[in-house]
């Protein structure tokens, strides 16, 4: 049986809304205008429900994607797993270790790449020195750290810049260095918040391949939160869709597509057919079992668009093409993308 590496049970997080949080660090300026110590520091103005009974299981060797609109709770979820935010209810486990009670053990099992790429780096140290600093904090031996840092800089294409000061890096390179830092410890679980944000297309593709390789050949669990539907569709084994702090769907991208919509579209591209013949063909298509809608499109080519449901049999369409001896140059099929599924689910 595949091992569960990340598990959350009824995870709840509420953020208090106080004048302190509203003031966002400028509360001394509010002093006296909106109230005194009690108003600014103590009094709560309500709560924002960031997570509401979120239960998920992620397995070893899986690439798992968490999709959701802005403010859905994705970052809160990841930060709870990283022990950076304390939950208000429920439980979360990383390789069996409780994120609240055993944070030390949790952090020996996971590393994460979070939001802003510049955080935690010394701007006046070289890339190599920055990684050496973190290797020391991770408690890695000098010899192993040196080897690992060289491997990672090579892997991310930063070897030539190893001795450059951090402040000379571009955004994309800083992102790559952040990834190097996360991979330093070689943990079995890796969490990524928007992993390819800021990377150029080649680096992003290489990085996606790297994630797949880490999951499939090294058995690592990869958990990503992303807005990039194409990315989720192309690399994730399973995805969960989160909205307003609740998981509204969790399955493989293929199953999600089937659940949300069994609709399939066929586009027949024709060469030189008369309008009279096309009208008859459209009428007959509409009479076929499982056909929901038929339309014609005329631009540089003539196209028949057939929208079908699960009862439609492709043989019926082939017979009809043969019956009218239609000069079909190509048939295109179309299924709803993960993006469309996401929008449908979120708007429900």
């Amino acid at each position: 049986m595949t091992k569960v590496t990340i598990e959350t049970i009824d995870l709840v997080k509420r953020y208090p809304i106080s004048l302190r949080s509203i003031a966002g660090g400028r509360h001394w300026e509010c002093w006296g205008r909106v109230g005194g110590f009690r108003e600014i520091f103590m009094r709560k103005k309500g709560f924002i429900q960031a997570l509401n009974k979120v239960s998920l299981k992620v397995y070893r060797g899986e690439v798992f994607g968490l999709l959701g609109p802005n403010g859905a709770g994705k970052t809160t979820f990841i930060k709870i797993l990283c022990t950076l935010v304390l939950p208000d209810g429920g439980e979360a486990y990383i390789n069996g270790y409780n994120v609240v009670k055993q944070p030390g053990k949790v952090l020996r099992n996971l590393q994460a790449v979070l939001g802003e790429q510049h955080r935690g780096f010394e701007w006046r140290l070289s890339l190599k020195n920055n990684l050496e600093f973190y290797a020391t904090l991770y408690g890695l031996s000098k010899r192993y750290a040196k080897k690992r840092i060289e491997e990672l800089l090579e892997l991310m294409g930063l070897k030539d810049r190893a001795n450059d000061m951090y402040q000379r890096l571009s955004t994309g390179m800083a992102r790559k260095l952040q990834l190097c830092r996360a991979l330093l410890l070689d943990t079995p679980i890796l969490l990524f918040d928007e992993p390819t944000a800021g990377l150029d297309p080649t680096a992003a593709t290489d990085f996606r391949q790297l994630l797949r390789r880490l999951a499939k050949s090294e058995g690592k669990t990869i958990f990503i939160s992303t807005h990039n539907m194409w990315e989720a569709q192309s690399i994730c084994d399973r995805v969960a869709i989160i909205n307003k702090g609740e998981i509204i769907a969790c399955d493989t991208p293929e199953n999600l597509r089937r659940c949300v919509s069994s609709e399939k579209h066929y586009r027949l591209i024709l060469d030189g057919e008369s309008n009279g013949k096309l009208k008859k063909v459209v009428d007959e298509f509409e009479g076929l079992n499982g056909v929901k809608d038929v339309s014609l499109e005329f631009d540089s080519q003539t196209k028949i668009i057939v929208k079908t449901d699960e009862n439609f049999k492709i043989l019926d369409m082939v017979n009809l093409i043969a019956k009218y001896s239609l000069n079909v140059r190509d048939i295109e099929t179309y299924e709803p993308s993960l993006e469309e599924i996401f929008i449908k689910l979120v708007k429900r």
Partner: protein, 242 residues
């Protein structure tokens, strides 16, 4: 704005009092004023890097990444403060040498007491730094604790004149100075370096004991405050805010 005005006012007041004190002997430490002043300023250089180091290395900008390494934060704090403090002590020596060679500073050092002063002041400063960092984590701006202590230190901790001199303006005000932890940092170093005070001498033994009590109290209070603040911001979800 208000805090800036207070800081300026206290600064002016402090240097005015200092100017009035100039060229007097300093019987409290059996020395002359130039020795008293140079040693005080050098100790000031010893104190400042500690809070600066903590502010630089333990802020919301880097804290998330540091916590993610799994290193216990108090160990990180001690590690980050230890080197600047040792470095400050090392630079203390050439600074004193300049004082001796150029300004004729006269030192009477008791090495064991100096070592003890080093330990006591490190404990006091570590505690204060942790309290200050804890406040800053929660409030996300300059904490009132550090500001109050720094401002009062300028006037009351005896950096550039003996605290007893304050009594000639408002009788009894020097009492407040002895409640400031930094006063003990300056006092113990000066006793050890200017007066060759021994901890076995009953006249100064109590001073070392009082300084040590500050250290013993401030270190656990600092640790608890810092830990409370860290848990608080993790609960509020504001750890990475700045």
């Amino acid at each position: 704005m208000i805090t800036q005005l207070i800081t300026i006012a206290i600064g002016i007041l402090s240097w005015s009092i200092n100017a009035m004190y100039r060229n007097r002997p300093v019987p409290e430490y059996d020395t002359d004023y130039i020795s008293f002043l140079v040693v005080g300023l050098v100790i000031g250089n010893l104190v400042m890097p500690i809070s600066q180091a903590l502010e630089r290395h333990l802020n919301p900008w880097s804290l998330e990444a540091i916590i993610m390494t799994g290193i216990p934060v108090p160990i990180f704090v001690v590690g980050r403060i230890a080197w600047p403090y040792i470095f400050s002590v090392i630079t203390f020596i050439p600074q004193i040498a300049v004082g001796i060679l150029l300004f004729g500073v006269k030192l009477r050092i008791n090495w064991f007491s100096t070592f003890l002063s080093f330990i006591i002041s490190a404990t006091i400063l570590l505690g204060l730094s942790m309290i200050s960092t804890g406040f800053r984590l929660v409030t996300k701006s300059t904490d009132p604790m550090t500001w109050t202590i720094n401002v009062l230190q300028q006037l009351l901790a005896g950096i550039s004149f003996p605290v007893q001199f304050l009594d000639s303006f408002i009788p009894g005000i020097s009492m407040i100075s002895w409640f400031l932890p930094q006063t003990w940092v300056y006092h113990l170093w000066r006793l050890s370096m200017l007066k060759a005070a021994s901890i076995f001498d009953p006249a100064t033994q109590l001073d070392f004991l009082k300084g040590a009590i500050f250290g013993v109290l401030l270190l656990p209070i600092g640790y608890k405050t810092f830990k409370w603040s860290l848990d608080r911001v993790r609960k509020d979800g504001t750890l990475g805010w700045f």
